[in-house]
């Protein structure tokens, strides 16, 4: 090794390692992963790979260094991640995008109606969470399995947001009038929302943005009391009694990486630290996928071709040239 | 006439695929062995025409594999003929619809199988009353009839045993009781006594004769035992390689065997009460 002329180029990729991404299934994660993969493959001559899986297995794989980068990690949302982070096995780098938010939603036609589809507003005054107690509103969201109650579609079981929303339901005093319906998977939640939306029916659910659902459908977030640290501490403590609740804090979405990898590949970490997608850009790309019925790879290609001004700032000039060249 | 018995008219049966080709060869007069070699088809019966009068014990004899079982299976249509017709009291059995066929089988004809064919999951009694139950007899009554026949074939004490707990001859007697308990006009008996010892056998022969005399049942009886045939048969038919070689009263056959084959079959016996 000593004989090699100044192995200054000694880098993670240069040493022949494969840079493995988590193959995230949802649209934005898929899109971002495709963009970053192309950047490292073309700009930094990395051997790249993507491994599919559901998010638990993939997060776990980051902890074991089977996967190096989880491109859209909603920090604090998954117990697996929290545990691995506290053990120092993984860390969050940069911000994948800023301004992600979460909350409780209803379709906008519930409040405003939708003339084009002939839907009348059924709850024109509905604005905030505290109105949900109103029996008229409860009966709007009636649960077929327990018709006397309304149905609140929570986050899938096991996600951190599920615990928080459960605590909120109690905190807002809605526990007796709504069933806390946990759909089991993100897919089930999405299917329920999109089915209700297509049929113009009222539905009350937890959701987050940026997402394809959020891009596709007109949704209205219900107002909640302002966020406070004390309130949040109470909501996230499963043992506590919840008497009041408040809004979600703004969410940090970052690149989740393996800690050993982070040590071994500072040049990659440097790029990740800078690579923040503007929120409207993510939304635009998601809309592009929906409108044109194309997959994330195509959207990533279009983004890289057309928005060099955005991603150009994340990489070194040589890398930028190489990437641009590869696109043509 | 009210009881006209069974008429078999030109019945042939070919086993195996390509029966058409084989039946043409049968008409050309090729032998069973030749046809087997040429087409792979087995000739079961060839052009059998035969009258079985009502109220008689009609015995069928012949070499092993000569088509005896095949012939009697045609009578209750367990086998469909490749050619020919079968009349039963002047109705063509082959044209019976599903329902008529079932009624025919429950009320008119029953059978003792060469291989017993008992239901392994049913007790002796349940096996024996099968025919009666099929016909709609109330279970109580059917069981009384069944117990009677079980006693007559010497199986009292075994009515709640299962077939796999019986000896070969006992199984055969269950099959026998099953056919007799069905109380039909016609009973087909395919080597029904072959597994019985001489004592029980002669007892059974007596019962059969009595049944025929008292109730005028028509019994088609396959046997290999010439003594038995002579003792109980009103008439004897002899088959060879699927062909009918001779049919007549026992004395006819003993006195005037149609050919050498029949002569060898009845060798050493002379006509009685001739």
């Amino acid at each position: 090794l000593a004989g090699l002329p100044m192995a200054a180029q000694a880098s993670y990729c240069g040493d022949g390692n494969t840079l493995t991404f988590a193959g995230i299934g949802w649209e934005s994660g898929d899109f971002i992963t495709k963009v970053m993969e192309t950047i490292f493959a073309k700009g930094y001559d990395c051997k790249t790979d993507t491994i599919t899986g559901n998010s638990i297995t993939l997060e776990n794989a980051v902890a074991t260094n089977d996967v190096q980068i989880f491109a859209e990690e909603w920090i604090g949302r998954s117990d697996i991640w929290n545990k691995a982070e506290s053990e120092g096995k993984v860390q969050a780098i940069g911000d994948t995008f800023a301004g992600a938010s979460e909350g409780w939603f209803v379709p906008t036609y519930v409040v405003k109606g939708d003339e084009a589809r002939g839907i009348k507003p059924v709850a024109p005054d509905l604005k905030s969470v505290d109105q949900l107690k109103d029996p008229a509103i409860v009966s709007l969201f009636s649960d077929p399995e327990e018709p006397s109650k309304g149905r609140f579609l929570n986050c899938p079981s096991g996600w951190t947001c599920e615990g928080v929303s459960t605590a909120k339901l109690e905190g807002y005093g809605l526990g007796d009038s709504y069933t806390n319906f946990r759909p089991g998977t993100g897919t089930a939640l999405d299917a329920a929302i999109s089915s209700a939306y297509k049929q113009g029916q009222p539905i009350l659910f937890y959701y987050w943005s940026p997402t394809a659902i959020m891009g596709k459908y007109a949704l209205t977030q219900l107002e909640e009391p302002a966020y406070s640290d004390a309130c949040w501490a109470n909501l996230t403590d499963p043992a506590a009694k919840h008497e009041a609740a408040c809004a979600f804090p703004s969410v940090k979405v970052a690149y989740g990486v393996n800690s050993e990898f982070a040590k071994a590949a500072p040049e990659i970490i440097e790029v990740l630290a800078k690579a923040t997608f503007p929120l409207d850009q993510v939304n635009a790309s998601l809309a592009y996928m929906v409108d044109n019925e194309v997959d994330a790879a195509k959207a990533a290609e279009v983004f890289l071709k057309e928005k060099a001004d955005i991603w150009g700032a994340w990489v070194s000039p040589e890398a930028k040239d190489k990437i641009s060249a590869s696109l043509n | 006439m009210s009881m006209s018995g069974i008429q078999i008219r030109g019945v042939s049966k070919i086993f195996g695929a390509g029966a058409d080709k084989a039946i043409a060869l049968v008409e050309q007069g090729l032998s069973k062995a030749e046809i087997l070699e040429k087409t792979g088809c087995g000739v079961g019966l060839r052009n059998i025409t035969l009258d079985i009068p009502a109220g008689e014990i009609f015995v069928i004899m012949g070499l092993s594999g000569s088509g005896k079982s095949t012939l009697v299976r045609h009578l209750n249509r367990l086998i469909e003929p490749s050619a020919g017709e079968i009349f039963f009291d002047n109705t063509n059995v082959l044209t019976l619809g599903r329902k008529e066929l079932r009624a025919f089988r429950t009320n008119r004809i029953s059978m003792v199988f060469q291989s017993f064919a008992l239901a392994p999951h049913k007790t002796v009694l349940q096996n024996v009353i099968y025919g009666q139950i099929s016909r709609g007899t109330a279970r109580k009554q059917a069981e009384a009839i069944g117990m009677e026949w079980i006693a007559k074939v010497g199986l009292s004490g075994y009515e709640h045993r299962y077939p796999d707990q019986l000896s070969g001859g006992m199984k055969q007697r269950v099959g026998l009781a099953r056919a007799l308990a069905a109380d039909t006009d016609v009973i087909l008996m395919d080597e029904a006594f072959s597994a019985l010892d001489p004592l029980i056998r002669s007892d059974m022969q007596d019962q059969l004769l009595q049944l025929q005399r008292d109730l005028a049942k028509t019994i088609v009886f396959i046997t290999h035992d010439l003594d038995e045939a002579l003792r109980i048969g009103s008439r004897i038919a002899i088959l060879k390689d699927g062909e009918l070689v001779q049919v007549g009263t026992p004395n006819d056959i003993l006195a005037n065997p149609a050919n050498d084959y029949v002569a060898r079959f009845v060798q050493g016996r002379t006509a009685v009460h001739a």
Binding site: P183, G184, K198 | -
Partner: protein, 281 residues
């Protein structure tokens, strides 16, 4: 690699078809769904409303009637007690309601279809590839449209469970009947047994060991769908498993998994007991 020039896709028409169904016929399907739901809720209500010890005793009585085996009867009692002690009683009753319903419907559908397949070669020829599809088409592919049409929860869960679990019962009923000794059937025919009597008196009893192997597989496969059922919002043990998995809490998942296994064993042993001919008990 396969040449791209030959490619075609059914993706868009399918997606548009699903959209159309959901948009236009959603309410019809909801009505159907609600009817099924009422039955389910009834069973569940009974099971959850009954005190735990009554349920355990009821199952022990069933086990005794089915098998006449003391050890097994006590075993059933202990296993159900374990479920309760693991703190899973309520979830277990929810899952039990779902599985009982799915198994019952599977038997009602599966055995007659198996019989038809055994009797008519044409039915068999049509049914076999359908069963292949039912067993191997990933359930979420049809669950998504089902979710959209029937709503989240128990109804699509029961449907998916039946679709996945009924094929082995159909297949083995078919096989069992075809394997019945031809001579015995022939004898029944010769004595004028009606097709129904031959079927119920001879063919089904003799095919019983094979049919019961099918029912065993149906129960096993139904219980292997518990987690999928929870993925679409059916409550019960599956939800606990899912929660354990998603929080990497293997112990929690295992506890609920044990609950599922116990349910499977209890349901299986009892049904097998009833399926065994009296002679061999």
């Amino acid at each position: 690699m396969f040449p791209e020039s030959l490619n075609f896709s059914i993706r868009k028409p399918i997606n548009h078809f699903v959209d159309m169904l959901v948009t236009n016929y959603g309410s019809t399907f909801r009505a159907i769904s609600d009817a099924i739901l009422q039955v389910l809720l009834l069973i569940e209500g009974v099971l959850r409303g009954t005190p735990w010890w009554v349920v355990i005793i009821a199952f022990m009585v069933l086990a005794w009637l089915g098998t006449r085996r003391v050890v097994l009867t006590i075993g059933v009692g202990i296993m159900l007690l374990v479920v309760g002690m693991l703190g899973l009683w309520d979830q277990t009753m929810q899952t039990l309601a779902l599985m009982t319903m799915a198994t019952l419907i599977s038997v009602v559908i599966g055995i007659p279809l198996g019989i038809l397949a055994a009797k008519f070669r044409s039915v068999q020829r049509i049914i076999l590839p359908v069963l292949d599809v039912m067993q191997t088409m990933p359930s979420f592919v049809y669950l998504i449209p089902a979710l959209m049409l029937f709503g989240l929860g128990k109804v699509p869960a029961v449907l998916a469970t039946i679709i996945y679990a009924v094929p082995p019962l159909i297949r083995l009923t078919d096989l069992g009947i075809r394997q019945v000794d031809h001579e015995v059937v022939e004898a029944s025919t010769a004595f004028g047994g009606s097709p129904m009597r031959i079927l119920f008196g001879t063919e089904l009893p003799l095919a019983m060991p094979t049919i019961m192997a099918g029912l065993n597989q149906t129960i096993m496969m139904a219980l292997s769908m518990v987690v999928v059922a929870s993925m679409i919002g059916a409550r019960g043990l599956g939800e606990t498993v899912l929660n354990g998995i998603q929080t990497l809490d293997v112990g929690k998942g295992l506890e609920a998994g044990i609950g599922i296994v116990i349910l499977a064993i209890v349901l299986d042993r009892i049904t097998q007991g009833f399926g065994k001919p009296r002679r061999f008990k």
